[in-house]
Every structure is written in C-alpha cells, then in structure tokens.
Amino acid sequence: MLVEALALSAVLFTIGVVGVLTRRNAIIIFMCVELMLNAVNLSFVALSKLYGAAGQVFVVFTMTVAAAEAAVGLAIIIAILRHQKTVNLQNINLLKG
C-alpha cells in the first residue's frame, strides 16, 4: 500500500497547489495550504512504516506548525479585512509594481 499512499499524497498536494493558483479568496487559499500540509503528512506516515516512528514524530511537529500558522494567518486576514474591507486578493495590491 506504500505506492498507493504516496500517489494519493501526490494527488492531494497537486489539488492544493492548483487551488492556491486558481482561487482568489484568501481564506480558501489558506485552506488549500492546509490541504498541502495534510498531503505531506500522509507521505510521512506512509514512509514511517519503513523507517520507524520518526516520521510520525515529524507529523506531530507539522500539525503544531500548521495550528500556529492558521492562528496567525487568520488574524492577519481579519486585520486586512478591517483596513481593506475585502479578502479578495485581487483588491489587495498595495505592493504591486
């Protein structure tokens, strides 16, 4: 089942990447990033069957970082909304050259 799990991980990661590239709602882009993190976690767990539990320890760390990232990122989105009145990334173009 290792090859299948890695293939599933690749498919989920690609769906996340395409989502980040095609959507403009900041919240949905954030959720796509979470999907990519989950796909990588699946790879870690699948390979931990071969290489021992270190992969699962890394998944624990990934989850912690994902939780911290979600908290800070969503706070940033709320702060942006307060200033710009939108979460559509097309209208947030202050740094556009």
Binding site: T22, R24, N41, L42, A54, V72, L74, I77, N88
Partner: protein
C-alpha cells in the same frame, strides 16, 4: 488495528475507498464557491486521511488528525468565516480569469506527472531497506512499551526533545501574534 495479513481484501477495499473519498472531497473542496461549503469538504478530506493513518498503523496520528485538524483548526477557520461576514457566495467573484486558470492547470499537470514519475519507477523499491523483513520480525517479537503511543512518544522526548521544547516557544509566539494582530486599535487613530 487492521493488519495487512488480517483480511487483505477488506484492507485493500477500505484503503481505496478512503483514498478515493479523499480525492473526491478535495476536488469538491477546491471547486466550491462558498467558503463554508469548502471548509466542510476539507473536513471530509481530513476524516478520510485520519482513517488512512489508522490503516497505516499510525493510530495516534489518526486521533491527533481528528482532534487537532478537524476539531481545532477547521473550527477556527469556520469562526473566521463567520466573523468576516462576506455576504452571499454568489456575489464573490472568486476564481481567476481564463489564462491564469489554464496556466495553473498546466502547472498542476506538470507537478503531478513529475511526482508520479518519481513514485512510479523503482524509486520506492529502492527506498525499502534490505533488512526490512528481519527488522519487522524482530519488532513484532519484541514487546512494545506503551502500546501505540509509546513508539511515537519515546523519540519525541529523547532525540527530538529540543525541537519539542522549541515548539512551545513557537506556539507562544503564535498566540501573542494572533492577539496583537486581531485586537482592535483604538489609540492609533
């Protein structure tokens, strides 16, 4: 626990069932317009992944997936969607135009084929250590300490103790950052 030898057909069927469920839910997730519907489909993906973790002998990670991801992170997402109060989904011009979508699709196909080629050949077979069968046999013979959590917890508090402690600093920084960013500034203006 559902070992591979226990009932191979049932195991394979469940594996493909949850795998296809994850892919289908992920596709539904990226195509939904409404953020709430998208979040619900993402919860579905995470439940399917939790089932796969359990099938891959990572029961503790499966439980963590349900508790932390679907229980905590997605609830935070839903709360923020509620706080933002964006209006009806049909009013949000969300997806990008034609050309960016085509470019994203081409990029996605390229990335997927690259990952599949890496996965396909005999790369995975080369990853498998030669003494795997002997190791698995000796691991099965040796009594495991602490059930399914022991093998995860022992390295967490031995080899990776420094990283584990630094994680708490990261979480503290995230809490402080979220509070500072989220609080309404009254004295600034």
């Amino acid at each position: 626990m559902l070992p591979n030898e226990f009932h191979p057909l049932l195991y394979t069927f469940s594996f493909y069932f949850f795998g296809l469920l994850a892919i289908g839910s992920a596709l539904a997730f990226v195509t939904r317009k409404s953020p709430v519907a998208a979040a619900m489909w993402l919860v579905n993906v995470m439940f399917a992944l939790a089932a796969l973790y359990v099938m891959l002998d990572a029961q503790f990670i499966g439980a963590m997936q349900v508790l932390v991801y679907t229980g905590a992170i997605m609830v935070v997402f839903l709360f923020v969607i509620m706080l933002l109060n964006l209006g009806h989904a049909s009013d949000l011009a969300d997806a990008r135009g034609k050309w960016p979508s085509i470019v994203a699709l081409v990029f996605g196909v390229a990335l997927l084929s690259e990952l599949m080629v890496l996965n396909r050949g005999n790369t995975v077979e080369k990853l498998i250590p030669a003494d795997l069968a002997a190791k698995a046999a000796s691991a099965a013979a040796a009594p495991t300490v602490g059930g399914v959590i022991g093998p995860v917890a022992a390295p967490l508090f031995k080899e990776y103790l420094l990283a584990f402690e630094l994680t708490s600093v990261l979480l503290l920084a995230a809490i402080v950052g979220a509070v500072v960013l989220g609080k309404r500034r009254t004295d600034a203006r």
